[in-house]
């Protein structure tokens, strides 16, 4: 059935147009990605040690890296730190999932309805600029010193960013792809499933990532303010360390907060984002 006479012409042209690109070996790529980060960590530790050695603050207020790292190791060894991380991460996951569900539903509703967009579109962006800590007095009045109060603020912190990701993702679907989809017969639900949702995915994932950053900040603020009895969270550890003037413990806990935040952002979301963009040719893979 195909016109075989043209085959050799097309094959030749195709071969000329596609220049072969061989990806660098994985080991080399990994090494290239890792060493600048190791260098940065080294510089931070060196500066920290230098400040400690300068004796600006006494040792018991600003301990050096060695003391803090051994405190960190001790926290893991006696099992109290993993327990705190477990409590905090459970809250983070529940709060974030709730925020994602609410954000997606609100985003879909706003993107579909002109009226809703005019009514609450700018409000959603406005909510994002509201410091989440300002919600806590109300949250405590409504839900007392409970986990619900914390989750309430986490959801309020993260959902607007996620909703905005959905809205701008759908708004920026190229009209040409929508037209192409309609010509191919993708209408109604099928248009969402096969065209709109996949086209909006990169922006949506950017919103999810931003939502995580808001959720994590809100959660830490919440755990410092709302201490729930019998729930030894990371926030409780931080607060307790300050009350007991336990500087090594305090800084060790801060490192845990930083590392978890970076891990989720860089390893989970950035990897997802990169793989989605690379697949579409938006960045070099």
């Amino acid at each position: 059935m195909p016109n075989d006479a043209l085959g050799p012409d097309f094959r030749g042209l195709d071969a000329l147009e596609l220049q072969a690109s061989s990806p660098k070996p994985l080991g080399r790529r990994l090494a290239r990605a890792v060493w600048p980060k190791l260098l940065a960590i080294g510089i931070v530790l060196a500066v920290w040690e230098a400040v400690v050695l300068a004796k600006i603050w006494p040792d018991y207020l600003l301990p050096g890296p060695a003391v803090v790292l051994s405190e960190l190791a001790a926290g893991f060894a006696d099992g109290t730190l993993p327990l705190a991380i477990a409590v905090t991460m459970r809250r983070a996951i529940i709060g974030y999932l709730l925020a994602a569900i609410i954000g997606i539903l609100v985003g879909l509703a706003v993107s579909r309805s002109r009226l809703l967009r005019d009514a609450v579109g700018s409000l959603i962006t406005g909510l994002q600029t509201m410091p989440s800590i300002a919600w806590f007095p109300l949250a405590i009045l409504l839900f007392q010193l409970s986990e619900t109060a914390i989750l309430f603020v986490v959801v309020l912190g993260a959902a607007p960013a996620i909703a905005n990701g959905v809205i701008s993702g759908i708004d920026t679907v190229p009209p040409l792809l929508l037209r192409a989809g309609r010509v191919l017969g993708a209408r109604g639900i099928a248009a969402y499933r096969y065209v709109i949702v996949p086209a909006a995915l990169p922006t949506f994932v950017a919103g999810l990532k931003q939502g995580w950053a808001f959720a994590w900040r809100s959660l830490m603020a919440g755990e410092l303010l709302v201490i729930v009895a019998g729930q030894p969270s990371i926030g409780v550890r931080l607060q307790l360390a300050r009350d007991l003037l336990d500087a090594p413990q305090l800084i060790a806990t801060m490192i845990v907060i930083l590392v978890i935040g970076i891990f989720v952002d860089a390893v989970v979301f950035s990897t997802l984002e990169r793989s989605i963009r690379a697949r579409r040719g938006l960045i070099d893979s």
Partner: protein, 268 residues
């Protein structure tokens, strides 16, 4: 505004397709964008009949409403007045940019219209393999649009349109962005496709030579507002190359009239 100085050369559209079963018929089609003083008349009382199985090109300068015309025929837009009739269901449409879905591979792009019609998986796979072979892209099934060249993308778009299994194919300046070598090859490909399938092909272009080289009939549209000002049957026997003297001769005649149309807009 609606004076037609070139009306004397306007052949009746019905003549070109007299007595033949039709694939597309437009009667008194007017399309106005906007309202009031800012309204733009893209198409003005346009009559056009396309015979079933024919290869017709529409030629015109910018602003002649070529793309509007295709949108109306494809059912993407509704006319302000008049009637658009298409036999055999929604036609397939190929755009200037291939408009492939960047998150799908070449094979998945071709598969999508089959999926949307509910074709079972095993049949889909077979059909996609056939279509990839049809456009000489066997071996590129797993590549994504950004990894392919412009010409290869346009071939995937052709295969995707064929997967719609419709009788009518609309092409909106499909090769306008391609280099000459690739374009010549794709002309041969489209010609072969038409010879084999006898689909109705409506091909929009601003390249008169391309129109003459490919089609059986060239329709010339005026600009702002668009209406038919010329209708030329193309009867060239034997092999048609874009460099062929017969092609050039006709292209010069049509091009002259197109030039007159363009100059008309320079007169204040």
């Amino acid at each position: 505004m609606t004076s037609r100085p070139l009306a004397e050369v306007q052949a009746s559209p019905a003549d070109a397709s007299a007595g033949l079963p039709l694939a597309i018929e437009l009667a008194g089609v007017t399309k106005v964008y906007g309202r009031g003083p800012e309204a733009v008349v893209a198409l003005d009382a346009l009559d056009l009949a396309i015979a079933d199985g024919s290869f017709v090109s529409i030629v015109g300068a910018s602003g002649c409403g070529k793309s509007t015309l295709l949108s109306l025929i494809a059912g993407l837009d509704q006319p302000t007045a008049g009637r658009v009739k298409v036999w055999g269901g929604h036609p397939a449409l190929i755009f200037q940019e291939a408009a492939l879905f960047p998150w799908l591979t070449a094979a998945e792009n071709i598969e999508l219209p089959l999926k949307l019609r509910g074709v079972p998986r095993a049949q889909r796979r077979e059909r996609v393999a056939d279509l990839l072979e049809r456009v000489h892209l066997t071996g590129f099934a797993g590549m994504r649009p950004h990894e392919l060249s412009g010409g290869m993308r346009q071939r995937v778009a052709i295969a995707r349109a064929l997967a719609q299994d419709v009788q009518t194919l609309l092409m909106d300046e499909p090769f306008g962005a391609l280099d000459a070598i690739t374009r010549d090859l794709l002309h041969e490909e489209v010609e072969a496709l038409w010879t084999e399938t006898r689909m109705t092909i409506l091909f929009v272009t601003h390249n008169v030579r391309e129109a003459v080289r490919l089609s059986q009939r060239v329709v010339l549209l005026s600009s702002r507002p668009g209406h038919v000002v010329g209708d030329f049957p193309i009867r060239i026997e034997g092999e048609r190359r874009i460099e062929a003297p017969e092609v050039s001769e006709l292209a010069i005649v049509i091009g002259r009239q197109l030039g007159a149309e363009v100059r008309r807009h320079g007169v204040v």
